[in-house]
Each structure stands twice: as structure tokens, then as C-alpha cells.
Amino acid sequence: MTTDKVNYGTIIKNGIFGENPVFRLALSLCPAVAVTSGVKNGFLMGVAVLFVMTMVNGTVSLLRNFISPKVRIPSYMFIIATWVTVTDLVMAAYARDVYKQMGLYIMLIVAFAIVLSRAEMFASKNKLIPSMVDGAAMGMGFLLALVLLGIFRESLGKGSLWGYKFVDSKPLLIMIMPTGGFFAMGLMMGWLNWVDRKFFGGTGGGGGGH
């Protein structure tokens, strides 16, 4: 019993900090830069990914004994595509204005390396509940990363947060343009690496990256 509890804690911590998909694993960077021009967009994208990852991990875990190893990758892609379609349609119905801006990126969740790799590495080998928790934790990490980026970009680029303006002067327009997205991503990664090194004795940075 106690070992189960400890496992969940590790899984959750791992998903959010240790193996944060955006800042640590550097997987699925496309949306991180694309949709974070506003906190609201980033948040909704994060929620969508959270939902997809939890559901996909759950489904893969349920079906793990029935999928032959030779066709597992296409099967996983199929499962992911199905759940993404569901998310896409639900979002189109209930969050129309946000969907208009980033509809394409929601559909591209299917191409995320993080979803596929988690399904392959974790869900195909573990039971239902731990898999779903792992998916949720990774999604949570992703959501946090996106919100962080969104806050950085929107506050500098529009002088607002979630649409509520709090600064009156002219904002730094470059931050909501593609350039700003890349800058924000690079700077955030670098700063987080530095924090990791200084306070947590990590080994962030120092070559590599993928």
C-alpha cells in the first residue's frame, strides 16, 4: 500500500519537474512557442494536452495486452489521433474564439513526440491508474510550462494577463510575434537551467539538447 502511494508521488513529481516535457526533455516544442502569445491560449492548449495524454495513456494501458508488438506504433498513433479528434471537436464547440486562433495546433497534438513516447514507454507496461496518473502529470508539467511562457510573453508583449491589462505603457510588441516566442523559450530554458544548477545542483544545459 505505502509503496503505491510513494510511486504516485514520484510519478507526479517526475512529470512536473524532473522530466518536464518542455524544459527538460525538450519534446513537443512546436506548440510551446506557437500558442503562448496569450496566457488564455496557453492554458487551454495545456488543458487539451492534459486531457489527451491522460486518455491516451489510459486507453493504451487498457489495451496493452491486446496490441501485437509489431503494430504497436501505428496502433498508438491511431488511438492518439482518435482522442485528438475528440478534443478538437469539443474545443471547436465550446471554446470557439480560442479555437479560431489555434485550431491547427490542437490538431497537431497528434504529432507530439511526448504523447507517443509516454504511451510507448510507460502506458504499455503499466496498469491503468498509474498510466493515467503519469499522463496527467506530464500534461500538468506541460500546462505549467505553457502558462509560464504565456505569462512571460503576454505581460511583456501586450501588458496584460489573461486579457486584463495591467500596464498602461506601450508593450514590447516583438514578444507576441514568432521571434518573441523563440526568445522567450530560449531565455526561459536558459534561466531554468541556471536555477537548476544553482539551487538544485542539477546539470541543466552544457551541450546536447535534441
Partner: protein
Amino acid sequence: MFEQISQLFQTAFTHILSAFINKLVPLVGVGGSVESVEVVEIKTIVYAVALLAVLGVIFGIALAMVAARFVVKVDPKVDQVRETLPGANCGACGFAGCMGYAEAVVGNPDVAPNLCAPGKSAVAEKIAQITGKAASAVDPKIARVFCQGGRGKSQRKFIYSGVMDCTAAVLAAGGDKSCDFGCLGYATCMRACPFDAITMSDDSLPIISKEKCTACGKCVAACPKQVIELSLMSKAVVISCHSRDKGVDTKKKCQVGCIGCGICVRTCPVDAIKLENNLARIDHTKCITCGLCVKKCPTSAIHDYIPVRPKAFIHAEICAGIDVCAKVCPVSAISGDVKAVHAVDQAKCIGCGMCEARCPKKAIEMVQAPSSAAGKHVEKEMAAV
């Protein structure tokens, strides 16, 4: 009868499905990239399933056909050989990466199994086992730096503050070192080494680790001054200088450069050293690594890579006083009257091994450091004498 039952089933199924989708699951809202529908028709579901099924079948068949038609017959031995290789893809074997060598050694009968330099003899044996080829003993090589002129010992022409890389530095008038043939010390070789065998000393000279170096030759290619060369590991005495400048100029530019004086040429008991273009070079086929030239070189340009030289020890009970050893000893470390037991002065002995080679009674033993087992035995004997 059957038709009626199947009809019944169809209608029942359609109704249940329709009820489930249209009543229990909320209606699809307005918007999105798909035209909205109020009620999901069974037709749509059937078409969707049909399309996916058909595509799945088509792809499955097509891929299976392609896989069968384009099968690549891989000799399982190739994979076995590939497993034994270190996987560094350094190219020392002369083939394109480890996979290239694995395929060549299995497919081509002329390719030797011992070409993998990093793998050394262990890998060569395994490959010989798998491919059934004979593996000859590999004489290990190591990369050696032919320059001892670090920052403390050599002069610089100007202060260089460009990109800290030898290939970049060499673009600025051939580098900032006064000697045109010397090591610039900006660690290009260190970065080129795929095995992390090179570190830079405090004096900005590359130090090559004997354990890690695999003689793959990447550093040799990377050095723009061609200061590094591959040489046999067993030939551990090396003239660490490439300077072809006249002795007078070399002395001005570097404290440890070869000035072409020729003392080593005269000292060498086997005539292994030649002087050419103001530079002495050891012919390693003749060299017996006695280490005499190391002691005699006035600028200490010759480097002895053997860490600790053994010392000669004469076994008193075997010695017959023939005196050949005393005559051949270059540093006159052996003393003793004719027909009397001879002894070696351990302080003077340089461990060249000439006496051991010449003693007809085989009374002389080259002994490693006193802390070894043989050394303790020697110490006891010496104490007895």
C-alpha cells in the same frame, strides 16, 4: 427466415446505436471545422468505419508486399560483429563507421579482422571467432605529441586573442608561437578526440592518456601543425620536436627544442638516430629504448615515456667476474674487479638493459621498483651482500 432475423437485428442495432449516440452523448455543438449536424446518421458511422477498414487493409497489404519485395538479406554475422565493435564510428579501420567495417569484414574475405584500433586485441579475437579469419597480433599504437614547448618553455610572436582554436589561430600568420613547427596549445586535438583521451596540461600542451588512446588518428588529422603522430606504444623513447630551424634559432624560440647538435646520434649504441634538416629522428625499427639519448640530450628534447625504468641487479652467486657488463655500461655504473663479483650502483644505473643483454652467465636481472615482489627479493639479497 434468415432474412427476417437479419433484418430484425439490423433495425435493432441501428436503433440502439442511434439512441446511444444521439440521446446519451450530448449533441455536437455548432462550430469547429466540420459542418454541424443535429443528429448523427448511422450512414456516417458506417462510412467512417468502412473507410478506415478499407484503408487499413490496403496499407497492410501494400506494406507487407513492399516488405517482402524489398527484403534486405542481412547476414546475421554482420549484426554479431557489429555488437562486438565499440560503436564510436571513428573510422580508424578505414571504413565508414562500425557498420561499414562489420559488413566489410563479413562480406569481403580480404578484410583483416584486426583493423579496429579502439577495439584492440579483444575485439580482433571476437571478430576472428565470428568470421573464422585468423587474427594476427596487433601491435598497439598510440598518438604522441612531438612538441614539449609549452607556454613556460617557448616564446610567442604576438598576443593572440581570437577564437581559441588551433585551426583558427593558424590563420593569423601561422599561429602566435615563435616556432613554426610547435604546438599552439588551443586544444583542437582535445576536442577532436572521440574517446576523451586528450587533456591539456597547465602549460598548454596536450597530454595523451595511454589507457584511453586508441590510435584512431582523429587528432593527427585535426592538428593544423601536424604535431601529433601515431607511433608504436612499445617504442617509448621519442624525440619530441619537429623543429627544422637551425640550432641557434631553435634555442631562441624554445628551451626544449631539438637544436640538431647530433650528440644523440653519437650516443646511440645501435645507430638508430639520424640527423636531417637540423632535426634528429629515431628510427624505431632499430631503437631498443635503452634511454641513453634521453640523458645526453642538452636541451632535454628527447622524451622517455616509460614511467619507471627498471634497474639492473647482479646476482652474486651467478656472477663470474667476466666484466663485459662494466665495459658496455654507458654510465659506468658497474664496478668490480675481473674474476670478482660485480655490483651495480643503483643510483647511476639508467636501466638501459645493455648489461643484461651482454652477460654470458645471465647473471643480471632488470628489476622494477623495489616495492614489487622481485624488488623485495632483490633488497634482501643486496642486504645480504
